[in-house]
Structure formats: C-alpha cells, structure tokens
Symmetry: C2
Subunit: 97 residues, 2 copies
Amino acid sequence: MTAVQPRFDAVVHAPPRLQICGLLAAVDSMEFAAVRDSVGVSDSVLSKHVKQLEAAGYVKVGKATIASRQRTSLSLTTAGRAAFAAHVAELRRITGG
Amino acid sequence: MTAVQPRFDAVVHAPPRLQICGLLAAVDSMEFAAVRDSVGVSDSVLSKHVKQLEAAGYVKVGKATIASRQRTSLSLTTAGRAAFAAHVAELRRITGG
DNA sequence: GCTCGACTTTCCGTCATGGAAAGTGACGGG
DNA sequence: CCCGTCACTTTCCATGACGGAAAGTCGAGC
C-alpha cells in the first residue's frame, strides 16, 4: 500500500501556494517567471509565498546565472512532494473523492 | 456531459467551510451539533461559518423545535451543491487530479 | 561607476478567523 | 409566573495572513 496518509497542511492549502505546488508537482522544476505567470500573481507576492514554502522545507530555490541573466528555478523537495500528496489526499477525503 | 465547470470559490475553500460542505454534500441534512463535532470547532465558530455559507446562499438553516429541544439542521442548497462541486473540480484541476 | 534585469524586503492597510463571554428565545420545572 | 437550561448567536478583541506599492539588493555588462 503506497497510500499517502491524508494530512491537512495549511501551508499548502492557501490558494496561491496550492497552485504553486500543483504546478511544481507535475514537473522537475520550473522558473520563477513561469510560475508567476501561471499563478497570476505579482513578483512580490510569489516571492513571499515561495519563501514560506521554502521555510517549510517544501520548495528548493535554485539561483543560477545563465546567459548573463539571473534565473531562479523552483522545485519541490521530497518533503514538499510528500506534504502536497498528503494534503491532496486529505482534500479528497474531505470532498468525498 | 455532466462535467462541472471548475471554479475556485474562496467561501468554500476555507478549511472549516470545506469540511462543512463536504459533510453536507454527502447527506440530505445534518444537525448543527453533529457538524460541529465532526468539524471539531466551537459553537461560535461553526455558527459564524454557517452564517457565511448562508449569506452566500450555499446553506439552508432549518430551525425546528423537536421533542421540546431546539434542533438546527443544516443542508446544502442547490447553489451550494453546485458551488461545492465546481470548487472540488477546480481543486482536482489544480492538484492534477 | 552606473544601469538593467530579476527578484526581495519593507511598509502598510485590510480582511479573515478563532476564543471567550455575554445575549437570545423556547421550554420545562418549581 | 419566574427561573434555569439548552442550543445557538452575537459581540468584543487580539492575532495573523494577504496583497499592492515602492524601495532595496545583487550580479552582469557597458
């Protein structure tokens, strides 16, 4: 049984962060700008939410200077994927999925 | 096509209210005390959340004096079921369900 | 040294939320 | 009839989360 233990996680539940996690869960990593545009928030707002996810140990921020341009890549950590999966499981439980 | 249009609904999204809607979606109606205990909140908190759901037209509150005891029953309105379904659909979309 | 791009942080006002406690209305008892 | 109880409701109050705007930071390049 690889069933995830449902666990409500407030850090993941907030709308903007749920979207961020949802996006990152589907890929290996995504760039800051791409996430910002997909989620539809401003730089400062995304930055602040990412900071919270990072503080929780859910997101890893990768800074890199590629082609003389600063590129910040975001990706979920193992803990982040686990927390997201657990939270999604809890949502399904609550919503009768 | 009985597909529900995904639509994020902040009123439904808040944890306590998501639980309330989840409970009510599964039944015809439930009593105030049962919901309060299932959700695990205090009288005042449940009352306030129910009030918000009622204001949004999602929940119908039925007052009845049965067996000399006040009984408040809660149930989702048609709009409430629609909003809940739409929100759940949106959550699935976001979480890659 | 200065500017630019790409984020970050700070500042600030607003709104949501929960706990505690007082308030309300309908009964049933004394 | 007045009183206490039950089952909620409302009010009061203290946090804390959020977002927008604007200033700040940092490496690259001119």
